[in-house]
Symmetry: C2
Subunit: 227 residues, 2 copies
């Protein structure tokens, strides 16, 4: 990660965020715990059921799982859009190029032409054909502001966030509390299985409650702490 700061892909505040993630992952025993696995399946189901799903990519997620996010985007299929908390033309361009070099056919975000309401950071800027029109948005490593704004805008929000107490996790339709390099491959595997099973997908969605699932996550963390 540190090298990617020098290359301009990851913001230096992105390193602090990465460290926060490391601590929470440590508390999960650095593994996919059962409630996360469940959320990953439900997330795959939401993405497959969506009319217009979009995956939003930032510096950290591009640095960590560019190839897997592209593979997931091809499989569902979804659009890919770059939105940055600390936006500069140069960083957007670098991250778009990193994704294209990793095999992405089309990357939105270079020229935002829409703005989300209720987001103070540069992540408010998005594209009409992308995030702005999406019904389901997968947001790995997100900030609470935008998660809440997207939910308010009527979208189904799929968060990947190691902090079960964060505003993103709580606001999300589905929060996967798992490390991103484990989570995305797990979502891909689940999507492969659910691809031709629409009934099973709807059942998964119907039975899922994000708040209940987050409680399960917190129970797991406590068990590991106290044992």
């Amino acid at each position: 990660m540190s090298e990617l700061v020098e290359e301009g892909i990851v913001a230096s505040t992105g390193l602090i965020a990465h460290g926060r993630g490391e601590a929470f992952d440590y508390l999960l025993g650095e593994r996919t715990i059962p409630p996360a696995e469940k959320a990953e399946k439900v997330m795959a189901a939401y993405l497959l059921e969506a009319k217009m799903p979009v995956i939003t990519v930032n510096g950290n997620s591009a640095a960590l799982v560019a190839k897997d996010l592209i593979a997931l985007s091809d499989l569902i299929p979804t659009k890919l859009e770059v939105n940055l908390f600390h936006r500069s033309e140069e960083r957007v361009e670098k991250i778009c190029r990193l994704l294209e070099a990793a095999g992405a056919r089309e990357v939105l975000g270079r020229k935002p032409d829409a703005k989300l309401e209720g987001v103070a950071s540069d992540r408010a800027y998005c594209t009409k054909n992308g995030i702005f029109s999406a019904d389901v948005v997968l947001m790995p490593l997100e900030d609470g502001d935008r998660a809440e704004a997207l939910v308010k805008a009527g979208k189904k929000v799929m968060a990947i966030d190691l902090n079960p107490l964060s505003r993103s996790s709580k606001a999300a339709t589905v929060a996967v509390v798992d490390e991103i390099t484990r989570a995305v491959p797990n979502i891909i595997r689940a999507a492969e299985i659910l691809k031709d099973k629409p009934e099973e997908r709807r059942e998964l969605i119907g039975h899922f409650n994000n708040q209940t699932n987050l409680k399960e996550v917190k129970k797991f963390i406590c068990q590991l702490l106290v044992d």
Copy 2:
């Protein structure tokens, strides 16, 4: 913190470590919990009882609490020594100067002339008149390797570490699980009170068990998580 990376005080990996701390502090409710307050008192007692106490300073602790560490060092009194995980002459010099500009009279560490056994990182290098001869070492924001090595070398290790599961916390004689900008002022206040109370100091030391106290910390985190 990010600006201090550019100035060469904080290593970019130090930002990741800072993020890990933020996550654990979040789980404490960003406050000094009672078992941390207890450990802070015991730590003050150990420092006051020591024959040759040394405070070891790294980039992150210099960035966050230089003045408070110097005030504590003056009060006890203790020596101050700079030891870096990622050592370069230039970074050592910058951190020594930062401490001197903040009021430190003498800072050891520019010319290490001793080496701790069992430490793989550059933090093995220390000074004969400092860490190497110390009986009590206060190490804010430490790595497990050195904490264990110092305990093996027969020293009393005073750790300030937000992760109650870390090797430093577990190896330490006293582990304060508290954010450093709260912890150091708390230790100063405790030392002021205990300065003329040798009996009370020995009683505090005699009644303290680090493992038991860490269990209390973990219980507090769980309560906050599950509530």
